[in-house]
Symmetry: C2
Subunit: 420 residues, 2 copies
């Protein structure tokens, strides 16, 4: 990742000396554009960042040494930043109209840590919802936008498992591949899989978990996904592994799932469902689960309701929304599903994203050849920003286990999850 | 518990032969009072119970063999049951105007299992709330009603620990005392207590957990309670154990807690708080917790919002309300507290209550001498009904661990909870 620490040769280090002089004369000595930059900084809560203008002028937020310098290419970019806020920060970075000298991830952490505080002690009246409801058709478009851009691209940095969800690191030193396998085993243990059981998986990615369950736990799996590219890849893997009789990959929406199962799993799909559809998802679970069944939902979440970052929602994950736990309960409570276990794996997702980002940067030339420089910068920002969001506690990762409300076929304790 | 299986000598077994003949002639051969009884049964969802009238007439709900016979003493009791519903069932049982031949606990299970279904797929519009807000003064009255009726009484059946909350059974065969100690250790491990740390406990009962923390984990504890009897008892224990310098018992409401702490615990108090006060409780937690602190809330709960059973709320626990998890989140989400871990220990509370009830029945003569027969019957119904409620999944037991949203001083995994 070192290669991205410094983007402009002129300013290889944040100029920690100069900005103090500038601040001493503020606002009298400031140019009109510098005043605009200060307005941008103030709107961000005055994080310890330094902006460097196209004319070399430098503006920093405060007396703290900046963790990074942000070089603005031209006047138009600055004006757009004033108008479009964080959406433009993302777009300008992707375009190369905003260059970052210093630690990109730390810079984003500072933006999160200095964000104007939410009102504590109260929740926003009328919880945030999707701006647009995720219909069957729109869900397919949304998923196509992100997951169908090329299996070869994802293979460059997701590791051998091709699992594109938070891993579980038994220790922080585990490798990405080890942690992805450990995550799958953690999920299978939470579900209490037994040989011969039937599993339905909603949103199966490239099929990694479904194939792991069949191979190592002797279950049959019906795995649903609306990404055509992922289903194609998953079917090829099932054939290569000789598991086509145990695992069926179905190119369809979770809302169309029918049939009964002993266990229901959904790892990394809920982010794309939208709160409007949570009760319907719960209905699918109760319709499919046998009376003594069990389900697991694994999803990015929040400590409190809040919309997705606008740039991520616009450019990376259209229609995505990470729910708070109270919002997630809209899946379970209408159906008297009993929540047995909730685990927050936030720091594991920060670690997972560090591994992904490092592998992505090692393959940056190949990515640039597959797409273009703009794509490389866009995905760098998404990955670095995601590391930052999980490190500072802006995002959470919840694994929720539930069972039908009347079932007593539930684990007595969680000790078996940790038995060696 | 066998002694309570049969309450009237005439009808030592449910008359599993007779009721079929009766049903065959229904409704033509039914007396007007029998029709009233059928109305009561229908209002309960036709559980497999048999009512026996004062004149010997028998009315059963369905073709199923009844699990118990309920003997109604007089016409007035039947009329009251039609008008007051389950509230009268409880009162009549306490008065001895309703006798139960058969398994009382199983009979209550059947009432729960046959209760008219809630509307699935939707939550009640406008969630249930307390009928009355638990002000400082009313909370004190409510707590006095239940917890100040005599430490000697509770000592008869709570076991050596005097812990009056759900225990944690490493295996179902553990004794009550073993399981109460295991519960305290489970809580201390979840909090990650380290020697020298400071703990605030909100709602400390007879002081068991606070004293355990100080003795076995080397922490100092400030423990709050509004029950005068419990605080007096807890202080005597602290003196006897030589722990008065480590543990301070404070006779005050959780809303008046001040001071800083590393860890915050509340085990079995939330049931008495009322959802109106959840955000205020969360405010107390964030006010007290140091930036890298951790908190644990242990409470009876529900799979979906629902008012307390009317007889329990009226006669046993005034002002009590067991929240759903979404409701519990009103404590945490307004303050950006991050939920790390939720564990549902429902079956452990069923087991705990079985132990309490058995010990209570063994001491029933002493209880009758302390109070009267009516009290014995009232508490039997409460204990048997609670066993049933947890066995059938009517009630849940949630342990929730949280930390300030920006803290990264959180456990990497939960493995240390299960390390031997």
């Amino acid at each position: 990742m070192d290669g991205i620490r410094t983007e402009s040769s002129e300013h290889s280090q944040p100029a920690s000396g100069n900005y103090r002089g500038l601040l001493a004369t503020e606002p009298r000595g400031m140019s009109p554009v510098a005043r605009l930059v200060r307005r941008v900084l103030r709107s961000l809560g005055d994080p310890p960042l330094e902006f460097v203008l196209w004319n070399g002028e430098r503006v920093a937020a405060s007396g703290q040494a900046p963790v990074a310098s942000l070089r603005i290419a031209d006047r138009a970019t600055l004006l757009r930043m004033c108008i479009r806020g964080q959406l433009e920060l993302g777009d300008a970075y992707a375009d190369g109209r905003l260059l970052v000298d210093g630690d990109l991830e730390k810079a984003i952490e500072e933006v999160y840590l200095h964000a104007p505080p939410v009102q504590e002690g109260a929740l926003p009246g009328g919880r945030p919802r999707h701006r647009r409801r995720n219909t069957l058709e729109r869900s397919r478009d949304n998923v196509h936008h992100h997951y169908d851009i090329g299996n070869d691209f994802y293979a460059l940095w997701l590791g051998e498992t091709m699992a594109y969800t938070c891993a579980y690191y038994p220790t922080p030193a585990a490798t990405l591949d080890e942690a992805q396998v450990a995550k799958m085993d953690h999920v299978c243990r939470k579900l209490g899989l037994a040989p011969g059981e039937s599993v339905i998986e909603a949103g199966c990615g490239w099929g990694t978990l479904a194939l792991h369950m069949a191979r190592h736990y002797g279950v049959t799996v019906r795995a649903f996904n609306i990404s055509a590219e992922q289903v194609r890849f998953a079917r090829e893997r099932a054939t290569a592994l000789g598991l086509t009789r145990q695992v069926e990959f179905i190119h369809d929406d979770y809302r169309n799932i029918t049939g009964a199962c002993d266990k229901f799993a959904s790892v990394g799909m809920l982010e794309h469902v939208g709160t409007d559809n949570y009760a319907e998802l719960g209905g699918v679970i109760v319709r499919c689960l046998k009376p003594n069944g069990r389900a697991l939902i694994h999803s990015i979440g929040r400590n409190r309701p809040k919309l997705m970052h606008p740039w991520i929602e616009r450019r990376i994950f259209p229609g995505a929304y990470p729910p708070s736990l109270a919002e997630m309960m809209q899946i379970f409570e209408p159906w008297n599903l009993s929540v047995l276990d909730v685990e927050n794996l936030r720091l594991h997702y920060a670690r997972t994203l560090e591994h992904w980002w490092a592998a992505f940067e090692q393959s940056r030339d190949r990515v640039a050849a597959m797409f273009d420089e703009r794509f490389v910068r866009m995905w760098r920002l998404y990955l670095a920003g995601s590391v930052a969001a999980f490190r500072v506690g802006e995002m959470q990762l919840f694994q929720v286990v539930c069972a039908p409300g009347r079932s007593n076929a539930i684990p007595w304790t969680r000790a078996q999850l940790y038995a060696s």
